[in-house]
């Protein structure tokens, strides 16, 4: 099961991130998590939001380059070694991780991570078979 991530291209200029966030806010969309990858020239903002389609539309209308990408959101036990337990399964199958960032840590002792892997469908199958819990956007909103 894949979740939708919103990716936005932003130039390294003062106030640019703020403008993106303002558009998302204006669309009434809640940000659940984000990661900002930077290079010397530009940044790449990746977000998990309450309504990715609405946010994507609003950003495009405001002249931003944004897109929706499939990612895996894995819900793990919040305990020592649980991340490694799952990632080693992917490594064994030669699946490459493109990027990864944290989503939430729940009071109930669970932690969720966003993962982008080279072969997303295969990665999803492997993780599910290994007993991982994969979340949809709907699931995430309820966390």
């Amino acid at each position: 099961m894949q979740a939708k991530q919103l990716s936005v291209f932003i130039e390294n200029r003062e106030g640019r991130l703020d403008e993106v966030l303002a558009v998302i806010k204006g669309a009434g969309v809640n940000i659940l998590s984000l990661s900002l990858a930077d290079t010397s020239e530009y940044g790449l903002l990746r977000l998990i939001v309450s309504d990715p389609v609405a946010a994507d539309k609003a950003l495009k209308e405001n002249g931003f380059s944004s897109m929706l990408t499939g990612v895996l959101v894995v819900r793990l036990d919040n305990k020592v070694g649980s991340l490694q337990d799952f990632l080693c399964v992917l490594a064994k199958e030669n699946i490459n991780l493109e990027y990864m960032y944290g989503l939430t840590i729940e009071n109930g002792g669970k932690a969720s991570l966003v993962i982008k892997a080279s072969n997303l469908d295969k990665a999803a199958n492997i993780l599910t078979a290994a007993g991982a819990e994969l979340l949809s956007n709907e699931d995430i909103s309820k966390l």
């Binding site: 990716s7 291209f9 932003i10 002249g63 380059s65 493109e98």
Partner: protein, 432 residues
């Protein structure tokens, strides 16, 4: 010192007579041997017999870069292919380069012209000349090389790209002269200064060309290196470097008029302008065999003076260039048309032709940055995807123009849209 007293100090009357004879012969030759020229002359009802001397020059139709492109690659050559001994090529306005062919005599004539120019710069056969232009299709390297060799100087084929080695050899060989672009020479001067090597060199003369430079830049080069720097001009279509050069008085560039007839025309009316006025420089070659050119529009803006020079030469002088009548850029000595960059960008899947070329000069070396808008269709959520895109664009540009450009990805619609002709170039260098 004058390399060829006879040709360079001839009276105007004699020169006009010589030019006229050579022009009449050239026109006859191209009419008979080059279908494209014949068609152009026939179209306006002009016969070779109508050309009696240089006073009839203005009756002849112009030749442009487009004619070279339309007859790519060898269509304008006026001799059978087995008489061609070398070809060079320079940038066309689009992907196809402009091809120039030389016969054995053309190479000799070119060497002679370069020797005249080097002599104007005070270089003699006793000198050790480092040629630090690019060797290859570009005319700079081989042109200067053959000229220096023809003079009998020790010629060192450095090429470009390895400044450290150039400096080592400059010191070790005791090189006394150099031929390269003025910006490269300034760069070399800075490196020498930084390394504290300025007193370890014997350099005394330079012939710099292939790009526009200012009088201030010349003075800066001369002061830093303690040398005489001269401006050599040429363009590959006409021949290459050596068409003109400035003498020790630096009051304009003496044209090798016994080989090339210069004219100045208005780029709008295409009519000759009065002497001394600025306009577009037009050349007719009158001795070239491989690729003779009739009234070739160089697009370089300048003026001509026919006053006798203090150096004793009687050949006319063109003034420092005042720009171009087209959008061609000269970056690190390489001719670049924005249309070529556009063509390269369009070869990359999904790239929109919204771009801006930013040219600057950092530490005396030209830099070229191309800003390209990241459109949705080639946007990626992965940095490596965006980096791959930059590399792909850079490679396409490199293959098209032979220069490495820095590609800067920018947000969509951030490059200013213009209502009329799009602004594609921002040249921050102050050269004119």
């Amino acid at each position: 010192m004058i390399w060829n007293e006879k040709m360079e100090t001839m009276s105007r009357e004699e020169l006009t007579k010589l030019q006229s004879e050579r022009l009449v012969a050239t026109v006859k030759r191209v009419y008979n041997n080059v279908p494209a020229y014949r068609a152009k002359m026939d179209a306006i009802g002009l016969k070779p017999e109508d050309i009696h001397g240089i006073e009839d020059l203005k009756k002849l139709p112009f030749t442009t870069k487009a004619d070279l492109r339309d007859n790519y690659p060898f269509g304008l050559f006026a001799v059978p292919q087995d008489e061609i001994v070398r070809v060079h090529a320079s940038s066309g306005t689009t992907g196809k380069p402009t091809v120039v062919g030389y016969t054995e005599n053309d190479i000799k004539m070119w060497s002679e012209c370069v020797a005249r120019c080097m002599t104007m710069a005070g270089i003699t056969k006793k000198d050790i000349v480092q040629v630090a232009y690019g060797y290859g299709l570009f005319t700079g390297g081989l042109g200067a090389h053959y000229g220096a060799e023809y003079m009998g100087a020790v010629t060192v084929p450095m090429g470009t790209g390895n400044t450290a080695k150039l400096i080592t050899l400059m010191k070790d060989f005791g090189a006394t002269a150099i031929a390269c672009t003025p910006s490269y020479l300034l760069h070399i001067a800075e490196v020498l200064k930084e390394n504290g090597d300025l007193d370890k060199i014997k350099l005394r003369a330079a012939v710099c060309g292939a790009e526009p430079w200012t009088e201030e830049m010349r003075k800066q080069i001369e002061a830093t290196l303690g040398i005489d720097a001269h401006d050599i001009y040429g363009l590959s279509e006409v021949m290459g470097p050596g068409v003109a050069c400035d003498c020790e008085y630096h009051k304009g560039l003496h044209v090798c008029e016994d080989h090339f007839i210069p004219e100045i025309i208005s780029p709008t009316t295409l009519e000759p302008v009065p002497e001394g006025e600025t306009g577009e420089l037009v050349f007719t070659t009158i001795t070239k065999e491989g690729l003779p050119l009739i009234r070739y529009r160089t697009r370089d803006l300048t003026s001509i003076s026919y006053d006798k020079c203090e150096c004793g030469r009687t050949t006319c002088r063109i003034s420092r260039f005042k720009g171009r009548s087209d959008d061609m850029l000269i970056i690190r000595g390489v001719n670049v048309f924005p249309s070529q960059v556009e063509e390269a960008l369009l070869q990359v899947d999904g790239v929109n032709p919204h771009y801006l070329i930013v040219v600057d000069r950092v530490n005396n070396l030209d830099t070229m940055e191309i800003m390209v808008e990241v459109e949705e269709k080639f946007f990626s959520d992965e940095i490596k995807g965006l980096e791959a895109l930059s590399k792909k664009i850079a490679k396409a540009v490199q293959q098209m123009i032979g220069l490495n450009a820095k590609i800067k990805l920018v947000e969509p619609r951030t490059i200013e849209r213009s209502m009329g002709k799009a602004v594609r170039v921002q040249d921050k260098r102050k050269l004119v």
